[in-house]
């Protein structure tokens, strides 16, 4: 079994705004595109043009419907590794392949040590692990560890591919362990939540919930329109307005 670091210097992660996500899949394919040539390359696609197509993806978006007091709602929900503080996918790993970095808290897999036993994917309740059957190795979101520190990229581009791509600006990145970081302040302001915290794995990523329908909208306290009744109604009103 693999040990977790007692402490990580940073808690790098993502914050995803469910109030703004339109489910366009930009983060999904931007992630695929970067990572299929990146640290865990390739993100293999089996039977890519056939009836049993099955590929490795680090990030997927699902759409759900649910009913609230104010009526039905459709929520687009991007799902990727949450880089938990105490992830079971690491502790169950028999070889030390699955590990959590002490520096930044990113959960990674050392492919050389992975024996493809899939214990980690059974342990992860979030479905964040992707088994590459072609090479018999587990793969997963790296938080773009090969982008965020990459000296070969311009400084401004050193963010995860999904964050750079998102057309509605629904994805955020930073150190969630630093309460003063911009991303922590955002979580604070918007009431960001962890997924299924009751399981005890302490996800790092946060989701900003769709605001309740009633107070989600900008308040338009518009008084009801009143028909012009006096003096010839609307046409009379025009006359008066233009005569002023």
């Amino acid at each position: 079994m693999t040990c977790l670091p007692a402490h990580t210097d940073k808690k790098l992660g993502l914050v995803i705004d469910l109030d703004t996500c339109v489910g366009c899949q930009a983060c999904v394919t931007a992630c695929k595109e970067w990572n299929t040539g990146g640290h865990m390359a390739p993100l293999t696609d089996i039977d890519p043009y056939g009836g049993h197509v099955d590929g490795v993806w680090f990030n997927r978006v699902h759409a759900y419907e649910h009913t609230t007091e104010a009526g039905g709602r459709t929520v687009n929900f991007p799902r990727s590794c949450l880089h938990c503080e105490t992830p079971a996918c690491v502790t169950v790993c028999p070889t030390g392949a699955s590990y959590k970095r002490a520096s930044d808290g990113i959960v990674l897999i050392d492919e050389d040590k992975c024996i493809g036993c899939k214990l980690c994917s059974w342990a992860c309740p979030y479905g964040a692990r992707e088994f590459d059957t072609d090479v018999g190795v587990m793969k997963k979101c790296t938080l773009c560890v090969d982008r965020i520190y990459n000296d070969n990229l311009a400084q401004e581009d050193r963010v995860p591919a999904c964050v750079a791509a998102c057309p509605t600006s629904a994805r955020h990145f930073g150190d969630l362990g630093d309460p003063a970081s911009a991303i922590s302040l955002l979580v604070e302001e918007r009431g960001g939540v962890a997924l299924m915290p009751e399981l005890g794995y302490k996800p790092t990523n946060r989701y900003l919930p769709p605001r309740a329908r009633s107070d989600r909208a900008a308040k338009i306290d518009a008084p009801a329109l009143q028909p012009i009744k006096a003096d010839g109604g609307f046409l009379g009103w025009i006359d008066r307005m233009l005569s002023n």
Binding site: V22, D110, P223
Partner: protein, 976 residues
């Protein structure tokens, strides 16, 4: 390079790199700084029509990664699901590899490969004979063409009027509706003021146009807490994040909008000052039933429209900036009774038939909601006005110390467009915006240059006099102002093969590509010889009534010859249409070609300034394919077309890149506006600059000019802007652009139907022209709904493309197809329960036109009278490099099979194209269906099924495994 001010859309503090982005000493051996690319080429995406700027990272001669260009005004660094999948489009196994000549029966897919020289000879010989005898026998129709300024020009020089792109089956209602009303329209012509709007209304499917700017804009609205209201039968995509989702019944948006107008008028909540200044609301309309000018504008001797001066109590020029003009009343001018336009509007829309109570049931929206939305619109427009501290001068020379705005904006696209009442509905939406005073004001809907233009803009469609060896006297597509501009013969019959600009579709504007195959097959109005098509899947998802369309493509006459004698098709991929071509000209991908995204064409300007862009080859083709535009230019030269050859008969342009730089449409104006002049110092007008393409490449592939602060709003009447627009050649003069709430061109058609004028409709068409060429927007039931038995076909059926595939032929794309490879029919839970259907059932979807089989998925977020599906996911076996067991051809289905391409016969037995009667826009969304659970043995596979296509010679079978990117890693690790 470090920028002090973060660039791009995603640059909030919570989206930036770590303050210290040096790699920590983790000691786990992870290479945190791998080399990404050998070079980065900046060009323009073509995965859809949005045309974003992209950075293409090339490694070892292959495309490693594509991201958004942060400086590009369209996408500001973001990129969508399609753009990020460009690699898979480029390396698609469905790509064609060499010119093909048909050897088997048409539609079989049996071809032999030929050399380009043979392909050119065949095409030249055929087209040369047509041009010598009857040029209109060439029908040249292009689909997802982003080079219409070239293709239309080519058709014009060839001498055929039979040219159009795909606008007729896409969104011509939006273009024509807007251009005839405000001299601009949504998308390419304008955009909401995302930074200032406080109330945004989104009508219908809009995921098509445009992709990233709308998403960026929605993100801004959400971040600012602005209200988003969506009016859409489906609660997907953008509608899922709306604050108010109004699940309206399809095709009733016009009714809903006119009810809002009713409420606003009734309450006196309209912007009278704005109406007086910028619209024809005060213009006097002759009221003399039976007269030849009844319903036309009262004009002075110079042709200026007149209005009534309330103070001087006499008529004055409507453009008089000083006079106090009347908006209501009835006046005698030169012994003629006339009333202001606004009086007519008020009379019509104040009528109780437009009240929320009267329309609620039909719209499926309760009256209270309609009243609430009207109240909110009024409140935001009139009580939450904004004022930018910028002085500006209007067209009449009046200086304004601030720019005032009413922060309500709207957007609509295909959902409104694809109904047979879409033109009038689009006009109604613009009318609503104008009544609120929100067009081109801060917080409102803003024009993108070169718009606004006069409504409607010039020029008129050419093609009245088609002669052998003679170019047209203009370009084939234009705008008509009355019956005299139609392209009809003396008997009133259409002279274009698609019947555009005929009595069937008077304000066509974009042509009617969706009618060409039927008309050419039927020889109605005449037979053609050659159908030349580019990049449009007309044997599948781009046609209505697919099964019959396929039969027409392969139908033969008594002599055993194809009724459509010759088909030339250019495409980069083995689509469902390629097998129906006699000659196939394989195109390149967007990463291998030159292109220009031109102000002469479909611009990519921003409301804050004009822009254009290029594509340039960032990788070399690995096969014998050529960019279609260069092929067309060579074909033009071989045919000796004027302007494509020099005086000595030699080719004028080497290829498309040469044309882009050296072609001048009028002196000083060419395809690209940036870096003109010998030294590259001119914008807009200027001499040819031989280095122009390099200047674009150096600037990241695009050119953009930023307006000064005083030019950014009220462009229809802004002196500084209008002067600039004249300088740039956008408009012929600096006269203000007057919004045409009342359309005089439309009234001219009505008068013709009443027997006036020299060009009159045939008797049988008069009722239709009278009904639909109404000069004020009105609502009528979509045609199919008005004619079918609604008890038999109780449901509306709609389609939309998934956002990750819109305008992108995604089913060949290994990544995109994994997201959607089988489309379901989405059915409301309640509706399904009534029909005894449960989730995952297989059903027949039946219309008056036929039936198709698919699998249902139950949802709540849909209007209960509506079913819908993802469009163009169903594919034909043997196409797109897909394997025989692919979900697309086994379980996915194409709704097009049951969408009629014609209306039901009228009392005279006449069937029209299933289109808007004003513009000819294909009425895809009028479809009515019923759904019936299929028998047990029928479940599990789609029908109808089609014969599998043969594969072109030497086409590699699609791989069983894709390890894209493994090579990059291997080389990287080997280098360590």
């Amino acid at each position: 390079m470090r920028h002090d001010t973060p660039r791009g859309a995603n640059s909030a503090p919570s989206q930036r790199p770590l303050t210290d982005s040096r790699a920590p000493a983790e000691g786990d051996g992870v290479d945190t700084s791998p080399t990404v690319s050998d070079r980065i080429a900046k060009t323009t995406c073509y995965m859809c029509a949005c045309r974003c700027g992209i950075d293409v990272h090339i490694k070892d001669g292959k495309v490693r990664y594509i991201n958004g260009n942060k400086d590009h005004p369209v996408n500001r660094g973001v990129i969508c699901g399609k753009g990020s999948s460009g690699i898979m489009q480029h390396y698609s196994p469905a790509r064609l590899r060499k010119p093909l000549l048909r050897t088997g029966p048409r539609g079989s897919g049996e071809f032999r490969e030929i050399e380009w020289e043979e392909a050119f000879s065949i095409a030249t010989e055929r087209l040369s004979a047509i041009r010598r005898t009857d040029p209109k026998k060439l029908a040249f129709f292009t689909g997802r063409d982003q080079s219409q300024s070239l293709t239309g020009w080519w058709a014009s020089k060839f001498g055929t009027p039979n040219f159009a792109a795909h606008g007729g089956f896409c969104s011509v209602n939006m273009a024509a509706g807007g251009l005839h009303t405000i001299g601009g329209s949504f998308w390419e012509f304008g955009e909401p003021d995302w930074d200032n709007t406080k109330y945004f209304m989104l009508f219908g499917v809009a995921e098509d146009h445009d992709s990233n700017p709308i998403k960026i804009g929605l993100g801004k609205l959400k971040a600012r807490g602005a209200k988003v209201v969506s009016i859409n039968p489906c609660r997907t995509g953008y509608n899922a994040i709306a604050d108010d989702w109004i699940g309206i019944r399809p095709g009733t948006d016009g009714l809903f909008v006119l009810a809002l107008i009713h409420e606003l008028l009734k309450a006196g909540r309209v912007d009278l000052d704005y109406l007086l200044r910028y619209t024809n609301a005060p213009v006097l309309v002759v009221q003399e039933p039976g007269a030849a000018d009844d319903g036309l504008f009262m004009r002075d001797a110079d042709g200026n429209p007149l209005a009534w001066d309330r103070v001087a109590k006499q008529s004055v020029k409507a453009a008089d900036p000083v006079a106090k003009l009347a908006l209501i009343g009835s006046y005698m001018v030169s012994d003629r009774r006339c009333v202001p336009v606004f009086q007519l509007m008020a009379e019509r829309y104040l009528d109780e038939t437009h009240s929320p109570d009267a329309v609620a049931e039909r719209c499926g929206v309760d009256a209270e909601t309609i009243r609430r939305i009207a109240a909110e619109l009024a409140h935001v427009a009139f009580e939450q006005t904004i004022e930018l501290p910028v002085a500006w001068t209007d067209w009449a020379g009046r200086r304004h110390e601030t720019i005032k705005g009413r922060p309500v904006s709207m957007h609509a696209m295909r959902g409104i467009s694809a109904h047979s009442n879409g033109f009038h509905t689009c006009r109604a939406i613009h009318l609503l915006q104008v009544l609120l005073g929100t067009v081109d004001v801060p917080g409102g809907f803003r024009f993108k240059p070169p718009y606004p233009r006069q409504a409607p803009p010039g020029p008129k469609p050419a093609g009245k006099n088609v002669q052998p060896m003679t170019p047209l006297d203009g370009v084939p597509l234009g705008f008509v102002c009355g019956p005299d501009d139609l392209l009809v013969d003396d008997a009133g019959r259409p002279t274009r093969i698609d019947k555009a600009y005929s009595w069937d579709a008077p304000l066509a504007a974009h042509g009617l590509m969706h009618t060409v195959i039927r008309n050419a097959w039927a020889g109605d109005p005449y037979p053609i010889d050659t159908l030349l098509m580019y990049m449009s899947n007309m044997a599948w998802n781009s046609s209505m009534n697919t099964v019959e369309t396929i039969a027409m493509l392969t139908d033969k006459d008594d002599a055993g010859d194809y009724k459509i004698p010759f088909i030339i098709y250019s495409d980069a991929y083995y689509s469902e249409t390629v097998p129906f071509a006699d000659l196939v000209l394989p195109d390149t991908t967007y990463l291998e070609r030159h292109d220009c995204i031109s102000l002469l064409d479909r611009p990519i300007s921003h409301a804050d300034g004009p822009g254009d862009a290029i594509r340039h080859p960032v990788v070399e083709p690995d096969r014998d394919v050529r960019p279609f535009q260069s092929v067309l230019i060579e074909l033009g030269a071989r045919l000796g077309l004027p302007c494509f050859v020099n005086e000595d008969g030699s080719a004028k342009y080497r290829d498309y890149a040469d044309y882009i730089v050296n072609h001048e449409r009028t002196p000083g104006i060419g395809p690209l506006a940036g870096w003109r002049g010998k030294d590259g110092a001119s914008v807009g007008k200027g001499d040819v600059n031989p280095d122009q393409l390099q200047r674009y490449i150096d600037n990241g592939g695009f050119w953009h000019h930023d307006f000064s602060a005083d030019q950014r709003y009220y462009k229809m009447g802004n002196r500084s802007y209008l002067d600039f627009a004249v300088e740039m050649g956008f408009v012929p003069n600096a006269e203000p652009i007057v919004f045409q709430l009342y359309s005089e061109p439309m009234q001219r058609f009505r008068l013709a139907a009443r027997g006036h004028g020299k060009v009159q409709p045939p008797k049988a068409e008069r009722g239709r022209i009278e009904a639909y060429m109404d000069p004020l927007p009105f609502w009528y039931a979509p045609f199919e709904e008005a004619t079918v038995d609604l008890e038999k076909y109780p449901l509306h059926a709609l389609t939309q493309r998934p956002m990750h595939m819109y305008h992108s032929w995604g089913s060949q794309n290994a990544w995109l197809r994994q997201i959607t490879s089988q489309n379901r029919l989405f059915v409301h839970h309640g509706t399904a329960a009534k029909l005894g259907l449960v989730d995952d059932d297989w059903v027949w979807i039946e219309s008056i036109n036929g039936r198709v089989k698919g699998q249902i998925k139950l949802i709540d977020g849909v209007n209960a009278d509506t079913v819908w599906t993802w469009n163009a996911i169903g594919k034909r076996r043997g196409s797109w490099g897909l394997k025989d067991d692919a979900a697309e051809s086994n379980r996915g289905f194409l709704l097009n099979h049951i969408i009629g391409d014609q209306t039901s016969a009228n009392a005279d037995g006449r069937r029209y194209s299933n289109s808007d009667p004003v513009t000819g826009q294909a009425a895809w969304f009028d479809l009515r269906v019923r759904i019936v659970k299929c028998a047990v043995e029928e479940a599990g596979f789609t029908e109808p099924q089609f014969e599998r296509f043969h594969q072109p010679p030497h086409m590699e079978p699609s791989p069983d495994m894709l390890r894209f990117g493994a090579d990059f890693r291997m080389k990287r690790e080997a280098a360590e």
